[in-house]
């Protein structure tokens, strides 16, 4: 399966290599660099590159290319999914996944990679298990280790590895037993010029942070489970119960994990919480263009819209912009032509707006298309789909846990065409 892994930073240096079978020379990456050169942007590097003897499968995350070298037929998604899992694990271990962090923790990284794959086939990918095998570095532990000479490496096989519930270890103990669930919904939408919705859909996830003693068995039920059109579960969720009762029954993983991701059916009308009024005009034979946008709340169920951020890729012909926002700050990068406006909260009484002029390249003709506006926002205490958790029950343990549910709506890929 996976022969080798190379980590390549954005400037094209291989800063880590790991081989699970015979060593593959790093010169194999030359093919990758070639492809990288051809694909002007990092994002455009094809994930699968065939070379005469190998195939290079890569993912690009946190400005690092994770290039896996494989030799034989293998489902590409298998490798890609695994590479993403590697990145997730690093993030889990070190908080961030960046070149300096990986370099600093190269030994832990190596040990983790060694455990994750054996002969190129995944061995342990549950972070719960990995963390028992190789403890994540913390300052305290480093200090303790230097004094006591103990190590970061566990010498017992993690219980999870053998159990039916590999995501949970036995003998978990907490003084405060708590279970928090965050229902986070992202709304993806394309709004056309006139303000009508071309496409809108809601993707939601329920992230859980469960710190419960022992082996609790939880049941989470919804007020309106029919809303969920398409779901994918953490392996802990019992599929049969969902099929028959539409409740989530599971023995939770220890700590933070994504319990469920779902999609709200497109049939249901998606409420669009914001609107953008825009007036952007270029004129031929004029070196000035007008630019004006206003953002306002639409269907927010009485909640405030926060963290509003407007970005737009301006056409190449725009040299500079002189704009005045009614609130927040704005920047325009004349090199990348990226306009961004950090709006903050929307006050329905006084709608935020950004007005001004654009100076255009003299003589250049009017751009084909007005720029698209990308919007980001957050609404606390609201799940825009209307999904509501009914109750959470715990079985199998005696104590009373503290339970909490939080809702949040965010903009996903929210675009307004102008």
């Amino acid at each position: 399966m996976i022969h080798s892994l190379f980590l390549i930073n954005s400037s094209g240096d291989i800063f880590l290599e790991k081989h699970w079978k015979s060593v593959v020379s790093r010169s194999v990456c030359d093919y990758f660099f070639e492809a990288q050169e051809r694909a002007t942007e990092a994002e455009n590097v094809p994930p699968v590159i065939p070379t005469p003897h190998h195939y290079l499968l890569s993912v690009y995350r946190h400005k690092i290319f994770f290039v896996a070298v494989i030799q034989t037929e293998v489902p590409p998604l298998f490798v890609i999914e695994f590479l993403h899992r590697v990145v997730d694990t690093f993030q889990d271990y070190f908080g961030v996944c960046s070149e300096p962090v990986i370099k600093d923790n190269v030994v832990v990284v190596y040990e983790v990679l060694e455990e994750m794959l054996d002969n190129g086939f995944p061995l342990a990918t549950e972070s719960n298990i990995l963390k028992e095998l190789i403890k994540p570095p913390t300052i305290l532990r480093t200090v303790v280790n230097t004094i006591t000479g103990s190590t970061n490496v566990g010498d017992q096989l993690p219980t999870g590895q053998l159990s039916v519930v590999p995501w949970r270890r036995t003998g978990v103990k907490y003084t405060n037993n708590e279970a928090y669930f965050d229902v986070i919904e992202e709304i993806d939408a394309i709004i056309d010029k006139s303000g009508s919705t071309i496409t809108a859909e809601i993707q939601g996830v329920i992230d859980a942070c469960v710190k419960l003693t022992g082996m609790p068995d939880l049941t989470l039920s919804f007020m309106n489970p029919r809303l969920l059109d398409d779901v994918s579960f953490h392996p802990c969720v019992r599929f049969k119960r969902w099929e028959s009762e539409r409740t989530l029954s599971f023995i939770p993983a220890d700590g933070s994990f994504r319990l469920l991701s779902y999609h709200v059916s497109a049939q249901n009308l998606v409420a669009i919480p914001v609107y953008v009024k825009h007036n952007i005009s270029f004129r031929d034979s004029s070196s000035l263009g007008r630019f004006e946008i206003t953002v306002g709340p639409k269907q927010t169920m009485g909640k405030t819209i926060e963290g509003v951020m407007v970005t737009s890729q301006m056409p190449k012909g725009v040299l500079n912009m002189s704009l005045t926002p009614s609130q927040g700050t704005h920047t325009f990068d004349p090199v990348t032509k990226m306009l961004s406006w950090d709006v903050g909260k929307i006050n329905p009484q006084k709608l935020p707006s950004l007005k001004g002029t654009m100076s255009l390249q003299a003589g250049a003709s009017k751009p084909d298309e007005n720029p698209t506006i990308n919007l980001q926002f957050k609404i606390q205490q609201l799940a825009i789909s209307g999904l509501k958790v009914n109750r959470l029950d715990m079985y199998g343990e005696k104590y009373k846990p503290f339970k909490g549910i939080k809702y949040m709506t965010k903009a996903g890929k929210f675009q307004v065409r102008t």
């Binding site: 880590l16 081989h19 065939p50 037929e73 061995l123 590895q161 159990s163 039916v164 890729q313």
Partner: protein, 1021 residues
């Protein structure tokens, strides 16, 4: 490279270099044996120094730095001798890092690597499974050909390890060994075969991976495990799922007939998935007349469905391709939703998924229609994703990403050709695009229009005119060439424009691109033929220009055309046909998707993504015309009945059995319990029912014939009906046996020691066994220790009281080898009392007991009187506390008391247990060291036939036979009556009429006594 590492050390260890250097000379000398490296001694000296130090912390630091070097790709091989010494380090982190190092460099330093082997061999026996596993991992990762035999041995051993984790590693090691030495294939296949039988979900994925790598063509190995794999699938870890699903897809394509023929795309079948399985069954039944899906085929499809909900994109895609390739066409619909869901994932996932969607939607249009919106392109998507998303066309044409726009236009073209209704719309849209200022867009449009017009040239004179005008402004050669070609083809429809165009072109001929020049020549020739009056001169001028062109293609073409069209003496025949040659109707090109030809690759594979066969790609075979024999998958009948009998039918069977059993009320219980096994297996409620009669060991005879892994258990499911009654007949016969009132001894009749050496006693139903039967054993180490019926009951009696000393009362006892009814820690003893006097003996009872501490005894009820010459048998129970101490007591009559004692043979302190070979080995692995006693037996070979050994062993001890996979090893298992400790007996035949007798037990005393007793028996002739 090396200078790099040198620099690295300079910088990191420079400070200490001087003082370390001095020490180095003294301490390094022992390692001077590795003189080879002396030249490198200077480098990395500090590291070596640290590795040699006594402090773990220093070693650890050194190892960490070395691993850092490896990670950076720097060469650290010269440190090999220093590092390899630490392989036996107690510190686990050092050890692990040494492992990392070894795996990396062992290939380069084979001789030195051998030094470490013994350490691993030792670690392979470590009680800690993690250590065993990692030792195996490293040992198998050291790619040194010399150790192949050692690896083979280690793999074999590990594949029988008790820990599923170690077995999983063994499965991985198989692939490593195979790649190192393909000649081991046959042996490895054996191991794979063994591991395929493993019920642990942990092992399943890895062994299937090994299977795919080593012997993907040995599909016959899968048969027996097919259902188990299907059932386990949901519980296997996600990576294993992917591999198994891909393998099963291939399997299904070879083993089942195509479900596609009878399918006419019934829409209502889509609803199937929201119906329960039963309804689905009905539906399938309805269609049965024409095509009946193999139930195993259905099983696979049904069991993979939940995995569409997996969080792992690879799993979802694997299921999708499975549905695509093997499910009835009407059912593939459900995958689209899940596949579309994957589009919200990372860009790399999107890329692969979209490619697969493209293939799917080409073949089955409309499959993704409801999700069209999901394919809308966002301006933030990377180009490659966009290219794949070409749907909502015209909006995107304006996009600033021109490359993408061009791709969009091509797609429009394809769309237009495929869907004739929209052709006009598309064409209009494209013509609008012609006025676009961007050249690439225009050029692309022209090319596409050219292709479109070629298909229906008649009506589009206007467009051609428009394009002719554009010729002035367009500079992209391909577009210009296209326009010229179009005009040439349609020169009769635009008689005025064509010559004018030619005139313009003649003017600019020299500055045109080669591609355009060729088309100018073509246009000239065509015009010359149709309209020679106006264009004769022009054409000749162009031909002259072409004659002196730099490009030989153009010169050739010029010469060719001149000869063809300009009439002269020599070129008689051909020029007549010149017009036909040039103005022949050209067939319209087919605008094909680049994804068209991918469909012959299995979806979701690398080959599919690359549209080229990748190394190791396994072709999906076509459906077989006739399904191969489905019975090869029958593992055991009970499982079959359980899985494939719909609930209703099972009930019927149930009542049928009841009917038979009415004749014998006692059998009821055994019946219903066997039902619970064959019925649903998971309903513990029925189990309770079976418990009504209290004794679950009764049904063991049935189990033994039909239970799992029993080799006798292969008969078609319908036979259950008659099989069980027959069983009962036997029982009825036995019921006449006066000994058994409460305890059924009926099973004895089944016993035939010679002909069926593995008439194995199977356990009473234990929940874990039921799980086993379902194939859902979840690798928990709960061993199955359940008492089974004795294989053999020796009728040997012992004298308790001789008639001479008993004043006419004689007492003999023997051990019926039954679980004692008086207490489960007691051994049953049957005492037969005989009155040899000519008078009645009255009030026979047990008097004073003198038992050692802890020993208990359940006495028989006093016997009022025993007639002269009469005899009576009573049973009693004695708890011997697992010792061979004597139980002394008084046997009293009305007048006398006789001191008697019973000393149990050690073999009678046991109860046979049934366990599988795997469990046996697992347990044996726990009972090593001082718990193991062994002896070598020498005897004539004829005494070493399996049946004689079995006979001899069971004669001495009440043990149960364990089915053995190897001919030369026989295993017996029992537990001690009092403490329930396992007693495992292994007889392994060696060469030269010797055999090794091994006994593993916690009760070492009993173990050694048993060994002593067995040894002479076995060596006797």
């Amino acid at each position: 490279m090396s200078s790099n590492s040198f620099a690295y050390n300079e910088q990191s260890g420079g400070g200490e270099a001087t003082e370390l250097g001095q020490e180095a000379t003294s301490t390094i000398s022992p390692s001077g044996a590795f003189g080879l490296f002396s030249s490198d001694l200077k480098k990395n000296e500090d590291l070596k120094q640290m590795l040699e130090s006594n402090k773990d912390s220093a070693k650890l630091d050194a190892m960490k730095r070395i691993v850092g070097m490896i990670a950076k790709g720097k060469n650290a091989s010269e440190l090999f001798p220093a590092v390899v010494k630490n392989v036996a380090s107690k510190n686990i982190e050092i050890k692990k890092l040494v492992y990392v190092y070894l795996v990396r460099y062992a290939e380069e330093q084979q001789d030195l690597a051998l030094l470490s082997i013994s350490t691993f061999q030792r670690a392979l026996k470590d009680p800690n499974q993690l250590i065993r596993a990692s030792a195996l991992r490293v040992l198998s990762s050291i790619r040194v050909p010399i150790i192949v035999p050692i690896m083979m041995l280690a793999i074999k051993e590990a594949s029988a390890d008790l820990s599923p984790y170690v077995r999983k590693n063994a499965a991985h090691a198989i692939q490593k060994l195979y790649s190192l030495d393909p000649e081991q294939k046959e042996m490895l296949i054996e191991v794979i075969e063994k591991l395929l039988k493993d019920k642990s979900t942990l092992v399943a994925g890895s062994v299937v991976m090994a299977f795919e790598e080593v012997c993907p063509d040995r599909i016959d190995l899968i048969h027996k495990n097919y259902r188990k794999l299907c059932n386990l699938l949901v519980d296997v870890e996600e990576w294993g799922q992917v591999v198994i699903i891909h393998m099963l897809t291939r399997y299904a394509r070879t083993q089942f007939v195509s479900p596609w023929k009878e399918d006419d795309g019934l829409e209502d079948n889509e609803k199937n998935f929201y119906e329960s399985d039963d309804e689905q069954k009905e539906k399938t039944d309805k269609r049965k007349k024409t095509y009946a899906m193999d139930p195993d085929h259905r099983l696979l499809i049904r069991n993979t469905k939940p995995l569409l909900q997996s969080r792992n994109a690879a799993v979802v895609m694997a299921v999708a391709q499975l549905y695509w390739h093997i499910a009835p066409k009407s059912e593939t619909g459900i995958i689209s939703k899940s596949v579309v869901r994957l589009l919200r994932s990372n860009r790399e996932v999107q890329y692969i998924v979209l490619q697969n969607i493209a293939t799917m939607s080409i073949q089955r249009k409309g499959m993704f229609e409801p999700y069209l919106k999901s394919f809308y392109v966002r301006s933030t998507d990377p180009t490659m994703i966009k290219t794949l998303k070409c749907y909502n066309f015209l909006t995107y044409v304006k996009s600033q990403d021109k490359q993408f726009a061009a791709a969009t236009i091509q797609t429009i073209g394809r769309c237009a050709t495929n869907i004739s209704e929209v052709t006009d719309t598309c064409l209009n849209g494209l013509v609008c695009l012609l006025s676009n200022r961007d050249e690439i867009v225009v050029a692309e449009s022209v090319v596409v229009i050219k292709k479109l017009l070629q298909m229906q040239p008649a009506q589009h004179g206007e467009i051609i005119k428009h394009m002719a005008k554009l010729l002035d402004s367009i500079t992209v050669p391909v577009a210009r060439a296209s326009i010229l070609w179009l005009i040439g083809e349609n020169c009769e429809r635009v008689p005025k424009i064509a010559p004018d165009v030619l005139r313009k072109m003649a003017k600019s001929f020299t500055s045109e691109d080669d591609l355009v020049k060729l088309q100018i020549l073509n246009l000239g020739a065509k015009l010359y033929l149709t309209n020679s009056k106006q264009t004769k001169l022009l054409t000749q001028y162009i031909l002259n220009l072409g004659k002196y062109d730099q490009n030989y293609d153009i010169r050739d073409r010029t010469r060719f055309i001149r000869q063809l069209i300009v009439p002269n003496e020599k070129s008689g025949a051909l020029s007549k046909y010149a017009k036909k040659i040039f103005l022949a109707q050209k067939p319209a090109p087919l605008l094909e998707s680049p994804f068209k030809d991918r469909d012959h690759f299995q979806l979701g594979t690398l080959s599919h993504t690359l549209n080229a066969k990748a190394t190791g790609y396994l072709e999906l075979s076509n459906w077989p015309e006739v399904a191969p024999d489905p019975s090869v998958r029958n593992v055991e009948v009970i499982e079959l009945a359980k899985e494939w009998t719909p609930a209703g039918k099972a009930k019927k069977e149930n009542s049928a059995k009841k009917f038979y059993s009415e004749s014998e009320e006692e059998e009821d219980s055994s019946d219903s319990s066997s039902d619970s096994e064959s019925g649903s297996g998971s309903e513990s409620g029925e189990q309770g029912e079976s418990g009504e009669e209290g004794d679950s060991s009764e049904d063991s005879s049935e189990d033994s014939s039909s239970g799992q892994e029993s080799e006798s258990g292969k008969f078609p499911s319908k036979n259950i009906l008659w099989y069980i009654p027959q069983e009962k007949e036997k029982k009825t016969k036995q019921d006449r046996n006066p000994l058994t009132k409460d305890v059924s001894l009926l099973d004895l009749d089944d016993f035939n020691p010679v002909s069926t050496p593995v008439a194995l006693p199977t356990p009473a139903l234990s929940p874990s066994l039921i799980a086993d039967l379902e194939g859902l054993n979840l690798s928990t180490s709960s061993s199955v220790i359940s008492v089974s019926t004795p294989v053999f009951v020796p009728m040997k009696t012992h004298v308790l009281l001789h008639r001479m000393s008993g004043k006419g009362l004689a007492a003999n006892y023997y051990f019926p080898r039954q679980p004692c009814i008086f207490g489960d820690k007691m051994v049953s003893v049957q005492i037969t009392l005989n009155n040899t006097t000519d008078q009645k003996i009255e009030n026979i009872h047990i008097g004073e007991k003198k038992l050692p501490i802890g020993m208990q005894m359940h006495v028989f009820n006093p016997i009022d009187s025993l007639e002269p010459e009469g005899s009576i048998t009573v049973s009693m129970g004695i708890d011997f506390c697992d010792s061979t101490q004597t139980a002394s007591f008084q046997l009293c009559t009305k007048d006398d008391c006789f001191n008697v004692n019973i000393q149990p043979p050690v073999g009678e302190l046991l109860l046979p247990v049934a366990m599988s070979e795997k469990d046996f080995k697992k347990e044996q692995g726990k009972l090593t060291g001082m718990n193991e006693t062994s002896a070598v037996i020498i005897a004539a070979p004829q005494n070493f036939t399996p049946s004689t050994i079995l006979q001899k062993v069971v004669n001495v001890a009440n043990v149960g036979a364990v089915p053995s996979g190897q001919d030369n090893i026989q295993r017996f298992a029992a537990k001690t009556v009092h403490s329930g400790s396992l007693m495992l007996v292994t007889v392994e035949l060696k060469e030269g009429s010797t055999a090794q007798l091994i006994i593993n037990t916690e009760k070492t005393v009993i173990g050694s006594v048993l060994l002593r007793e067995l040894k002479p028996v076995l060596s006797q002739g």
